[in-house]
């Protein structure tokens, strides 16, 4: 199928397939899946600036479906989400401006690709280390509740006294500095605006491990927040000519089906094992990116 906006020729079945896999990942791991979708779009021959904007817009549709479900389950901390939106939008704008600067220097593909690989490998390494440590420390067999070996870090951040201090009752947090939330959201926003997608692979672990938000509330709040921040990202990238909405619509059609299956799969696994199963996925994305950068070849 010819996509006239980004001037690329990608098989619709390939896009729906990528969307489907990303959807399963999203439903199962609670992340947007841009660590796979981004490299997959790039590998199919789409220019990197379009990869970033298009992936971001595809995330909006997916987040709407997910957030509505989580809101019905009471898993959305709206106060936390609205605070994070402010930090994320500022971060997304910074990320989009960085892309613009790289576009002017004509080395956007290379720089974004290298940063993408570094982020993906780091996340994979961290998740692997954390889940193995958690399973060694706690006997997780048959355990339903979500435990983490990283709990002491969130307690340290809660003790950080920089006014104004706020409370987040829906997340079970009594006192936390507003600046800690904004800083975290800003970093997530920069990653989102620079690498595309909702940056759930950065923000989700940060909310759980750094802010100490319960995992199910973090997933729901993240999705709710993504609707607004990725929506803003879609607008700003579309204005800069970085969004092929046709590709996003086709991918979203596949991911909506995959998300249903992924969500069903979570019934059969518990927290640390899900996080351990997540480890190879960013590495696959990184491998795809390395292949595309080194060979200069794209497959359609």
């Amino acid at each position: 199928m010819d996509f006239l906006i980004s001037v690329t020729h990608i098989s619709a079945a390939y896009l729906m397939g990528v969307g489907f896999v990303v959807g399963v990942m999203g439903g199962f791991f609670g992340v947007g899946g841009s660590f796979l979708a981004g490299p997959a779009l790039f590998a199919a021959g789409m220019p990197m600036n379009f990869v970033v904007g298009t992936d971001l817009s595809h995330i909006v549709g997916k987040a709407i479906v997910g957030a509505k479900t989580h809101r019905a389950l009471g898993n959305v901390d709206r106060k936390l989400a609205m605070i994070m939106v402010a930090g994320t939008i500022a971060g997304v704008e910074t990320g989009a401006q960085l892309i613009e600067a790289l576009k002017r220097r004509s080395n956007v593909d290379f720089v974004v690709g290298i940063v993408f690989i570094a982020v993906l490998v780091s996340i994979s390494a961290f998740m692997g280390w954390e889940s193995i440590k958690t399973m060694r420390t706690h006997n997780t067999a048959g355990m339903k509740e979500d435990v983490s070996a990283f709990g002491h870090v969130s307690k340290m951040i809660h003790r950080f006294q920089l006014r104004p201090m706020i409370s987040l009752p829906d997340s079970g947090i009594e006192r936390i500095s507003l600046w800690a939330i904004l800083a975290l959201a800003y970093v997530g926003g920069v990653v989102s605006g620079f690498l595309g997608g909702g940056a759930g692979y950065v923000r989700m672990p940060s909310m759980v491990f750094l802010l100490g938000v319960p995992t199910h509330v973090a997933v729901g709040t993240d999705l709710f927040e993504i609707i607004i921040s990725a929506g803003y990202g879609t607008l700003t990238h579309a204005l800069k000519g970085n969004v092929d909405i046709m590709v996003a619509l086709v991918m979203h059609a596949g991911s909506a089906v995959g998300a249903q299956i992924g969500a069903k799969m979570t019934q059969y696994f518990h927290g640390p094992r899900i996080r351990l199963a997540f480890v190879p996925l960013p590495l696959i994305g990184a491998a795809l990116m390395v292949y595309s950068l080194m060979s200069g070849q794209h497959f359609k």
């Binding site: 969004v243 909405i245 996003a248 089906v257």
Partner: protein, 224 residues
């Protein structure tokens, strides 16, 4: 006990997974239809908007992906609702076609087969009922001399069901097998009584009464 609970749980999960697969299949068909009909037309329309009206394109892009998100969410809930309702309806229909059954072969009354049919006997399942009785007799593993139908759960019977009972009694008689009924009550009893069919059968108030009565009739050496 734990094993049976696990097996029951597994069957429940399997059934819900089947329902779920059906849901996904319908959903995928809708998506494919949507894709081929709508997206093909959009491609040509959006290109000039992208080239000459970036602001309009940005608003359209956000609107389109948001609308698709909302539409798919509504579609998912709708299909899930329809599949659940249809699944319940089909399971009720299946229960009517093939009601639960229990078979007993009391050791103290040789040659007796007790068959409990848990559903109304009517034109949907009368043929199945007759076939099942014949199958049970053929596969009993001993020569059946008395076939007792425990009718406590046969809450209703229609003309076809009543005819099936009479035909069955006649065909079993030809094979020298007696047919009896027990726990005949409610509308089932009324229909048999009004059609003057009740007198054609040996009727017992309960299974226990039937066992007592039939046990007495057995010669001592046959009981052993």
């Amino acid at each position: 006990m734990k094993f049976f609970i696990t097996v029951r749980g597994f069957h429940k999960k399997l059934a819900s997974f089947g329902e779920y697969l059906l849901e996904i299949l319908i959903y995928a068909c809708f998506i494919s239809g949507y894709f081929f009909l709508v997206l093909q037309f959009l491609n040509g329309f959006l290109k000039p908007v992208f080239d000459y009206h970036k602001t309009l394109y940005a608003i359209l892009a956000l609107t389109l992906i948001s609308m698709q998100g909302f539409a798919l969410e509504r579609l998912t809930s709708g299909i899930s609702h329809v599949v659940r309702r249809t699944g319940a309806f089909i399971s009720v229909l299946l229960r009517l076609f093939r009601p639960h059954e229990t078979i007993r072969k009391p050791a103290n009354v040789p040659g007796l087969l007790v068959y409990r049919f848990a559903g109304p006997l009517f034109f949907f399942n009368a043929g199945h009922f007759a076939r099942r009785v014949q199958e049970l007799i053929d596969t009993a593993g001993f020569p059946v001399s008395f076939f007792l139908i425990n009718a406590e759960a046969i809450v209703d019977v229609d003309a076809t069901g009543a005819e099936a009972l009479v035909d069955l009694r006649s065909s079993l008689k030809e094979e020298n097998i007696m047919m009896g009924l027990c726990e005949v009550k409610g509308h089932f009893r009324e229909v048999l009584f009004n059609r003057a069919l009740l007198a054609d059968f040996t009727v017992y108030p309960s299974v226990a009464a039937a066992l007592r009565d039939l046990g007495k009739e057995q010669p001592e050496e046959k009981k052993k």
